[in-house]
Symmetry: C2
Subunit: 192 residues, 2 copies
């Protein structure tokens, strides 16, 4: 038992590489992030990156390991689920650059796009299933459009009006919308 899980020799290096890779992929996207730059950030030789991860694609796969960490929404009052979800997305994005790396890369890299699809299918789908009536797939898809649209415009494209919006203002606007996508019916919406 202990032998398979022993004190770790210098996997610290491996973790340092992964951290540096996350930053570079997030900042520059898949193609512009170079192994050389990642190695330099990690303070080691580029050859080490190849030794530990084989090639660039595998390095990205290791760096883009990601968990949405969706909160358990089943015990949240029904009419607060949307706001809770909106707040979680903003928190999650501010605290972890992995999703930014994944999104940036997914736009031009096929493997990254596939991973993105997997993550949303495996993590958002079940979460919606627990609380939503009717067509779960459609509801999960609609939530994805609004959530990723927010992330894209605020963190990637940095559209000024979206960047300028206060966190709480965003939650106030988007909460009811996500709520509607999760539990409402199409067309049956009243805006006053």
């Amino acid at each position: 038992m202990v032998s398979t899980d022993r004190p770790r020799r210098s996997d610290a290096t491996k973790e340092a590489i992964r951290a540096a890779a996350r930053e570079r992929f997030a900042a520059d996207g898949y193609e512009r992030a170079t192994i050389r730059a990642i190695a330099a950030d990690a303070g080691i030789d580029p050859a080490m990156v190849m030794r530990y991860f084989g090639n660039k694609e595998k390095l990205f796969a290791a760096a883009a390991e990601f968990d949405l960490r969706l909160p358990d929404l089943t015990d949240v009052p029904v009419d607060e689920i949307g706001a809770r979800l909106a707040r979680h997305v903003l928190d999650r994005w501010d605290g972890d650059e992995t999703l930014m790396a994944l999104l940036r890369a997914a736009v031009t890299n096929q493997a990254a796009a596939e991973r993105m699809r997997e993550i949303f299918a495996a993590q958002l789908g079940p979460a919606v299933l627990a609380i939503a009536p009717g067509d779960v797939s459609t509801r999960a898809g609609l939530v994805a459009t609004q959530v990723l649209g927010l992330v894209l415009t605020r963190y990637v494209l940095r559209l000024p009006p979206v960047v300028a919006m206060d966190r709480d203002v965003l939650v106030t606007w988007l909460g009811p919308i996500l709520q509607h996508y999760l539990t409402g019916e199409p067309k049956h919406i009243k805006s006053v």
Copy 2:
């Protein structure tokens, strides 16, 4: 007068390059789209591309010339504006790959992102101004999050649930949301 606007000698070549560039930038993004490939698609020599457009950045700028062609929404019944806008977005995106090129490139290329910001500021802003009360900037920003989120998930990431959704179903769901962003008040929304 005629001399400045004469029959055009072989600007057909120039237009062929621009068309090929649009396709490549849309399919591969800025970095992966190569001048060599674009030239091959256009059936001419790579050196011609440089001669006509100077460098890769200027070529992209020429290929990403884009007009949202937002319809005049002032004469549309107020409660139909959202649906009309949703339908227009789907139409516009299906018929022109320029916006796809712009979006794909904007995610990893600074100049493309800046152009994206300009387009939304110059075209969406005024359109919203004509019909929306209160904080126009916020409303335009919210509309951008949902519209670009739809485009990202449906055309770029190709999330299965979003791809599977019928055009009319999407309009039915998104119409009221865009309507709400344009004319409603935060929190004052009722989903039944």
